[in-house]
Amino acid sequence: MTTSTAPPALSVRDLSVVFRTPTRVVHAVDGLSYDIAAGEVLAVVGESGCGKSVTSTAVMGLLPPTASVGGSIRLGGRELVGADERELRDVRGREIAMIFQEPMTSLNPVLTIGRQVGEVLRRHQGIGRREARERAVDLLDLVGIPAPAQRARDYPHQLSGGMRQRVMIAIAIACDPAVLIADEPTTALDVTVQAGILEVLQSLRERLGTAIVLITHDLGVVADIADRVLVMYAGRGVEQAPVGELFDAPRHPYTRGLLGAVPVPGRRRAEDGRGRLQEIPGLVPSLTEQPDRCTFQPRCSYADARCGERRPALRALRERDERNEGYEEGERSGTERHEAACWHPVPVRPVLSEHPEGAERSDDAECSGTERSEGAECSEGAECSAECSGAEPSESAEHPEHPERPGQEAAS
């Protein structure tokens, strides 16, 4: 964690990625923003196809020419969007590096491990073949590869998947990059191997203060090593919060659904006694358009008319709403804020809680329009009250109330 005054290692602002082919247009990423500070681990989670990997590939500048990137990506004060390829090549591998999710195919099968690790050092540090080789062996040792001097002479096919991913990490960290993007680094690996890989990433953050963007859909991994979580849905950021807070009190209905879909050992739904996981009904929307509404609205049980009319921005939630502890807004720094892009965030309550307390106040309040977008910070007050038909914000309520469907709550 860092203070709000330190400039972020990586700052993504209003990033959009559009793929255009002769037959269709896909808005893969739409107005995404996040910051990550040195030494921080930001987990980016979401379903397959939500734009997690496209975002990081865009940050690396490795998207195919069919993609057009808009917005801003600042790496330590340097703007990467629109930078020319030559400049990007100097940045890649040196200031920002990426670990890919396919360790089996991400290494070149016809070159030795040592050569592939040494290559990035020679490229950015102008050292000779011999020195690069020695440093490569050191790096292999660092990422926990036994007998590194021999392994350096091996070819990728002689190594296991876990070892190959360690080699990928060695390549990524060779030049001590300020930012490391790990795109599902453990997905293709055995569970027993996963822990070792995460350990390597952890120690990296601790020793070098590397900012790590961890893309994953494994929420167990998130809980393990992330400081902060960004939840993506259909190319947009829908919620962002410190990891503990997100797990304890997810505010976006989608995040709740995502957490509810995770199996927890020993937990079953009480109502029917069956061990079914909750699923989010419906399908991820097609990304061929950029609707001015909440993209989760069609699948959201909390949705009302406004959700279908205007797109909610990702904004900080008021502390009062989150914890009922009376913080003033703005007290928490940027990286500690809890943000959600929702017109009526879910009230604070653990996903897998006891019976929902707000159940009795439910249904009709939902679409009346007199309720404000509870929890939304709403610094632009005029706009907000206009939306809310001039009604006073219902802050007097103990909790910003919300229709809650008891059946959707998992009881222990």
């Binding site: 990426m98 991400s106 070159l111 002689q158």
Partner: protein, 316 residues
């Protein structure tokens, strides 16, 4: 057993089988060697004498062993047409064909690989269309027609190159090359087109591979990514194609040598077949087969240099 040693052993077995087939094949041809050698209206005595002196009455296995023993010491018999030892004629023709084939191969690799890489890297752009069009032309045009057109254009209309004949490299290098340019183009163009198409396909695969993305993520230059990573992986395909096309190169050399009147292996073979010069045919086929086996061996050994998975016997 290491891969190269095993591969050499396999080649020796193949060579043995070839020698059996050649030996048996020539004897299975219609007509009798002794009768052919005895000249016009031979007497039975003369034929019998020839049969005895050539050992044709011996058991076929004995004959084969004698043939192999002689062949191993370089004695491939005497040409019935010229009366010269077969080996001498072969050795005289060999450098011509070797030079022609080697230069054609060089042309095919340099032009084919180069154009293939360009077509893959510049996919969907004018460069790709141009390369594809030229390659299609190279594949479609028959060698004899291309040869005639080239002779008309560059040996007669604009006499830069020689239309026919051969000058040994050792005698006059410039003159040698002047004679070889057109035959090399005729023989190499088709092969270059095949190599180009295979290189392009292999490069398209390599360029979209994950390891190329890794290479780009390292900040490597375009050239390092294309040549050092993508092409290196595509070479296995290219070498395979070259190995498979070798038969075409050999048969193509026969046609090309006829067109440009080059005193090479092709011409030697055709002359020998037309004059029923059995010893010569036997010698020529044996040499050609050996060359073929040798090049295939080299191709396979080249694989193992290019791809460590073959050399080290690992599974992927």
């Amino acid at each position: 057993m290491s891969y190269p040693i095993r591969r050499v052993g396999e080649s020796l077995i193949t060579l043995f089988l070839v020698s059996v087939v050649v030996f048996a094949g020539v004897r299975a041809l219609p007509g009798d060697t002794a009768t052919a050698l005895a000249g016009e209206e031979p007497t039975p005595e003369a034929i019998a004498q020839i049969r005895a002196s050539y050992g044709l009455d011996d058991n076929i296995v004995v004959q084969y062993v004698r043939y192999v023993r002689h062949a191993a010491t370089g004695d491939l018999g005497v040409s019935s047409r010229t009366g010269l030892p077969v080996l001498d004629s072969v050795m005289e023709a060999l450098p011509v064909t070797l030079e022609l084939s080697a230069l054609a191969l060089l042309l095919a690799v340099v032009v084919g690989v180069g154009a293939g890489v360009v077509a893959a890297v510049r996919r969907g752009r004018p460069e790709e269309w141009l390369v594809n069009a030229v390659a299609l032309l190279g594949l479609s045009v028959p060698a004899f027609w291309l040869g005639i057109v080239l002779v008309l254009a560059f040996a007669i209309a604009v006499p830069v190159f020689a239309a026919s004949g051969f000058v040994p490299f050792g005698v006059d290098p410039m003159e040698n090359l002047r004679h070889m340019v057109l035959p090399v183009i005729v023989l190499g163009s088709g092969l270059a087109a095949v190599v180009m198409r295979q290189t392009r396909a292999a490069m398209l695969g390599s360029l979209s591979a994950d390891y190329v993305r890794t290479a780009r993520a390292k900040g490597l230059s375009r050239r390092q990514v294309i040549v050092g990573h993508a092409l290196r992986n595509s070479l296995v395909t290219v070498v395979t194609v070259l190995g498979l096309q070798l038969g075409h190169l050999i048969s193509g050399a026969v046609v090309t040598e006829q067109i440009f009147v080059l005193p090479g292996f092709g011409k030697l073979t055709i002359d020998a077949v037309f004059s029923r010069d059995y010893a010569m045919v036997q010698g020529v086929v044996l040499f050609t087969s050996t060359a073929y086996i040798l090049v295939n061996l080299l191709v396979d050994l080249a694989y193992s240099v290019i791809d460590p998975r073959i050399r080290l016997g690992g599974a992927q």
